[in-house]
C-alpha cells in the first residue's frame, strides 16, 4: 500500500506538471496574432485613465518605457483579492474567494511540506519546540496553510455549488462536470480536514510521509490520511481536464493579448515573423477568397477577389 501511495503521488505530481507544461507550450506557440489591445494597458505610462502611446505625435515609432512590473503586480493582486468579483458580484465572491484560497493554500501547503521534509532530512527537527527557528517556522506555516486551506476549501466548495444551483444565470450555464468538480474538491478538502483533526493534528505523519517519498522509503499512514492523499493525487490527475489552467493562462491573456501593444517596426523580428505568417496558404472556401493562395496572394487580389 505504501508503495502504491508513493507511486500514485509521484505520478500525480509529474502528470499535472507535464500536462500543464504541454498546454502552456501549445498556447504560447500559437502564431503571433493581429493586435487586439484593450485599455487600460497596465504597463503604459497613462494606465490610470487608459491612455496609450497613440496619444503622442509619432508615438508608435518612439522609444517608450514599459512598466512590466506594474502589470505583473496588477495580475498578482487579482489572485490575492479577486477584486473584480468583489466589485461586481459580492455574493458570488463570498463563495469563490474561499474556494480559491483553499486551492492556493493547499498547493502552498504541499510545497512547504516538501521543504519541511527536506529540512528534516538535513537534521533539523520540525516541531513547535524545535531548537531551530527554521523547524518552528516550517511547523507553524505548514500547520496554518493546511488547516486554513481545508477549512476554506470546504466552505468554498459548498458555497460555489450552492451559488451555481441557486443563481439562475449560473445554473443555466453549468455543466454536470461543474458539480462533479465541486463534489470532488469538497471530498479532497473534507478528507484533509478530517485527517488533520482526528488523526494528524500537527501534520507530523504527513511530513514523515514526504520524507519517505524523498528518500524512496515509503511509509504507511493512517487510513484517513491515506484517503486524503489518494483523493488529492487523483485530483491532481483530474485538474488538467478542467479549466483550471486559467490560473496561468489569464497571465498569458493579459500579457500577450490584451496588453500586447508592441508596434511592428520595419526590419524588426516581429516584422519577419509576420512576413512568414503572411506566406502561409489559405484554404477558406468563400467565392471572394482565392483558396490555395497565400495570405499575401489574397491581399494582392484586386477588386476584393470579385470575378
Amino acid at each position: 500500500m505504501s508503495i502504491f501511495l508513493a507511486i500514485l503521488t509521484y505520478f500525480g505530481y509529474v502528470f499535472v506538471v507535464t500536462m500543464y507544461t504541454v498546454k502552456a507550450v501549445k498556447y504560447l506557440r500559437r502564431p503571433r496574432h493581429l493586435r487586439w489591445d484593450l485599455y487600460p494597458v497596465m504597463h503604459e505610462e497613462r494606465y490610470r485613465y487608459g491612455g496609450s502611446y497613440y496619444e503622442d505625435i509619432g508615438g508608435a515609432a518612439g522609444a517608450r518605457k514599459k512598466h512590466r512590473l506594474r502589470g505583473i503586480l496588477f495580475l498578482l493582486k487579482e489572485y490575492v483579492t479577486m477584486g473584480e468579483y468583489f466589485k461586481r458580484r459580492k455574493t458570488y465572491w463570498l463563495a469563490l474567494y474561499p474556494w480559491h484560497v483553499g486551492f492556493m493554500l493547499i498547493i502552498a501547503f504541499h510545497i512547504f511540506t516538501f521543504f519541511a521534509a527536506v529540512v528534516m532530512l538535513a537534521g533539523v527537527p520540525v516541531s513547535a519546540g524545535s531548537p531551530f527557528a527554521a523547524g518552528r517556522i516550517f511547523y507553524y506555516v505548514v500547520l496554518f496553510m493546511g488547516v486554513v486551506s481545508f477549512a476554506s476549501g470546504i466552505v468554498g466548495s459548498i458555497g460555489v455549488a450552492v451559488k451555481r444551483l441557486t443563481a439562475s444565470d449560473l445554473r443555466d450555464y453549468a455543466t454536470p462536470q461543474n458539480y462533479f468538480t465541486y463534489a470532488f474538491c469538497l471530498a479532497v478538502f473534507l478528507s484533509g480536514f478530517y485527517a488533520w483533526y482526528f488523526v494528524d493534528p500537527t501534520f507530523s505523519e504527513y511530513r514523515q510521509f514526504w520524507v519517505g517519498l524523498i528518500t524512496w522509503k515509503p511509509i504507511m499512514v493512517a487510513p484517513a490520511a491515506t484517503l486524503h492523499i489518494v483523493l488529492f493525487d487523483l485530483f491532481l490527475i483530474y485538474l488538467p481536464f478542467t479549466r483550471s489552467m486559467h490560473y496561468i493562462t489569464r497571465i498569458f491573456a493579459f500579457l500577450f493579448i490584451r496588453w500586447d501593444d508592441e508596434p511592428n517596426l520595419r526590419g524588426s523580428r516581429l516584422e519577419s515573423r509576420l512576413m512568414s505568417q503572411l506566406g502561409q496558404k489559405v484554404t477558406w472556401g468563400a467565392a471572394h477568397i482565392k483558396s490555395g493562395g497565400t495570405w499575401a496572394d489574397q491581399v494582392a487580389e484586386q477588386n476584393g477577389g470579385a470575378p
Binding site: P31, Y173, A286
Partner: protein, 532 residues
C-alpha cells in the same frame, strides 16, 4: 409565466427565442419613456429568411429549399469551423480565440457590462456568454467528437441544423464588438471576439455576410474606391464643392490639396463625411491651413475612404483594404498618414493593420488628435471659447478609446474650446458604445434599424439625456461631440428616433467643427445647427 431560454433552444425551430416588448426594455427618463414597438417583418420576409431568433433581421440568412441544401449548409459551416481553429487559416486571431473558447468559466461577470443585454431588459440570448457557449458546444460535439458520457458531463449536447446556425449568425450581429465584456473579465476572456469570429467563419467560408459590410462595403470599396460609391471623379466634384463652401463660410478660398506628391502627410477621411457631413472635412481643411501643415488627400481607389469594414467580419477583406490605404500613401511618397474623425478607421489602420503592413507599406500612421491637441493648447491658435457657449458632451468611440487608448487629446481640445463641457457617465475607456459599432450604424436591413435604435443605442441615449439633465429646455441647444463618422450616423438616427432635438434641443457633430467654431477670426458661426 415565461419559459427561460437556454442554449439548447437555439436548435429548436418551434418558436421565436426572444420577443422585444417595448415595456420590457430598459426604461428611459421622461419625456423619452413612451414605448415604441419594433417593426414587424412581413410574411414574405419571414418565409424567405430565418427570423426566429428575435424577429429582427440584420444579415438575412436565406432558408434552405431542401434537406440536401440544409445538409450542405451545415457541412460548409463545419468545414469553416475547422479552418477557424487552424493556425494557417486563422493565424490572425487563433490565440485570442482559443483562449476565450477554452477558459471562460461562465461566471457571468461580464453580463452587466453589455449595453445591448441591459437595454433589452436582460434578454438571455443577448447575454455575452450565450453565443460563445453555442459555438463551444458545437466544437465539442462535432469537432472534438466527444462521446456520449463525456458530452453529457461537459454539457455539449446540441443539434446542428440550419435553424441553429442561421440564428447564430444573426446573434453574432446583436453584439457591437464594443468589448466592454472583455474589459471586466478577470480571466482575459473576450466574448465579443467570438462574435467577430463567428461572422468571419460565415463570410470567409460560406460567403454569408451583412450586405452593407461586404457587398456594399468592402467589395464596393475595393472596386469603385469607396463604400459610399464615391468614385475618384465624384470626389473631384465634391472637393470643388467643399472649396466653394469654405469660401462661403469663411470668406477665404482654401485650396484642398489632392494627390500632392511628396506632401508631409496624407489625410484619410471616412468618405461618409464627404456626403453626409462635408463641414467636417472642410473644418479639417481650414485647420490644416491655419496650422500650415503640408498635407494632401488621395484620389486613388480606396485612398480617399478610410473605412475598413473588414475588421468587423472578414480578415482577408480587412487586409486588402488596409494594403490599399498604404499603397495610396506609398504612391504619393508621403511621410505619414493622418486618420480623420473615424473611430474604426483609427483602429483598422493604426492597430489592426500594424501586423499586416510590412516593408515599405509600413508607413507611419497617426491619429489627427495629438497634432490637433498641440495646435489648440499651444496658444498658436487664436480661439474664442465663448463662441461655443452651449452645453457640450463627448461620446467616446470604442475603437478609438477603449480599443487603442486615445483618451485625453480630445478632452484637452474640448476643455480649451468649450466652456460648458461635461462628461457622460461612464466615459473614457469605460464608455458605452453608441449602438452603431461593428457596422450597425450603416446596416439598414429590414427592421434592424428599429432594433438598433431601440436596443443597442438605448444606453447611449440614456447617457446623453442624463448628461444634459440640468438643461432640459429644448430652447437651449446642446451638442453631442462624436469624433467618429459611424458614431455620428448612429447618433443622428437616435436623436431622430427619440425626437431629442424637438424634446431637448440635442444636436450632434464632430470635434473639429467645434474648434473652427471657436476660431476668433471666423466671421460667422461655423456650426449651423441644421439637420442633415
Amino acid at each position: 409565466m415565461k419559459t427561460r431560454i437556454s442554449v439548447k433552444n437555439m436548435a429548436k425551430p418551434d418558436r421565436q427565442l426572444a420577443t422585444l416588448e417595448p415595456s420590457e426594455l430598459m426604461p428611459l427618463p421622461p419625456p423619452y419613456d413612451e414605448p415604441r414597438p419594433i417593426g414587424e417583418l412581413s410574411d414574405e420576409q419571414k418565409a424567405r429568411y430565418e427570423t426566429s431568433l428575435d424577429g429582427v433581421v440584420a444579415v438575412g440568412v436565406r432558408k434552405p429549399q431542401s434537406p440536401a441544401e440544409e445538409e450542405a449548409f451545415c457541412r460548409s459551416f463545419l468545414s469553416g469551423l475547422k479552418k477557424l481553429l487552424t493556425k494557417e487559416n486563422n493565424w490572425t486571431f487563433l490565440q485570442p480565440l482559443m483562449h476565450s473558447l477554452d477558459y471562460c468559466v461562465k461566471c457571468q461577470l461580464c453580463s452587466d457590462s453589455c449595453p445591448a443585454y441591459l437595454a433589452s431588459g436582460k434578454k438571455e440570448i443577448y447575454r455575452p456568454t450565450f453565443r460563445p457557449e453555442v459555438l463551444r458546444r458545437i466544437i465539442n460535439k462535432y469537432l472534438k467528437k466527444e462521446g456520449g458520457l463525456l458530452r453529457k458531463l461537459t454539457g455539449s449536447d446540441i443539434e446542428l441544423n440550419f435553424t441553429l446556425l442561421a440564428r447564430l449568425e444573426e446573434l453574432a450581429h446583436r453584439c457591437t464588438l464594443c468589448r466592454r465584456c472583455a474589459q471586466v473579465c478577470p480571466l482575459g476572456v473576450d466574448n465579443a471576439l467570438i462574435s467577430r469570429e463567428i461572422r468571419k467563419l460565415f463570410s470567409q467560408e460560406m460567403g454569408i455576410a451583412a450586405r452593407e459590410l461586404h457587398e456594399l462595403g468592402t467589395m464596393q470599396q475595393l472596386k469603385v474606391g469607396s463604400s459610399t460609391g464615391i468614385t475618384p471623379k465624384a470626389l473631384a466634384n465634391i472637393i470643388a464643392f467643399m472649396e466653394d463652401d469654405i469660401e462661403e463660410k469663411t470668406g477665404r478660398r482654401i485650396k484642398i490639396p489632392v494627390d500632392k506628391e511628396g506632401a508631409d502627410a496624407l489625410l484619410v477621411h471616412n468618405a461618409g463625411e464627404f456626403l453626409a457631413w462635408p463641414e467636417n472635412p472642410e473644418a479639417f481643411a481650414i485647420l490644416f491651413d491655419a496650422m500650415g501643415i503640408d498635407w494632401t488627400l488621395s484620389s486613388d481607389l480606396v485612398g480617399y475612404d478610410a473605412v475598413n469594414y473588414g475588421i468587423w467580419y472578414d480578415d482577408v477583406q480587412a487586409a486588402r483594404v488596409a494594403v490599399r490605404h498604404a499603397e495610396a500613401a506609398r504612391r504619393l511618397k508621403v511621410k505619414k498618414i493622418y486618420v480623420g474623425e473615424c473611430g474604426h478607421a483609427h483602429k483598422a489602420l493604426l492597430v489592426i493593420a500594424d501586423r499586416i503592413l510590412t516593408g515599405d507599406l509600413n508607413i507611419p500612421r497617426e491619429s489627427f488628435l495629438p497634432m490637433m491637441e498641440q495646435f489648440v493648447t499651444s496658444g498658436k491658435a487664436k480661439l474664442d471659447p465663448s463662441r461655443n457657449n452651449f452645453p457640450v458632451t463627448l461620446h467616446d468611440p470604442c475603437n478609438m478609446v477603449r480599443l487603442m487608448g486615445v483618451v485625453e487629446p480630445q478632452r484637452k481640445i474640448l476643455r480649451a474650446v468649450c466652456p460648458d463641457f461635461r462628461e457622460m457617465t461612464p466615459h473614457g475607456v469605460e464608455n458605452y458604445c453608441c449602438g452603431g459599432g461593428s457596422g450597425f450604424a450603416i446596416m439598414q436591413s429590414m427592421n434592424f434599424p428599429d432594433w438598433r435604435n431601440a436596443v443597442s443605442g438605448r444606453m447611449k441615449m440614456k447617457q446623453i439625456i442624463e448628461a444634459f439633465a440640468d438643461t432640459p429646455d429644448p430652447g437651449v441647444k446642446k451638442y453631442v461631440c462624436a469624433p467618429c463618422s459611424n458614431c455620428k450616423g448612429l447618433l443622428r438616427d437616435l436623436i431622430v428616433y427619440h425626437r431629442a432635438w424637438e424634446k431637448s434641443g440635442i444636436y450632434y457633430g464632430g470635434l473639429v467643427e467645434l474648434v473652427v467654431n471657436a476660431m476668433a477670426d471666423m466671421k460667422k458661426p461655423y456650426i449651423d445647427w441644421e439637420w442633415h
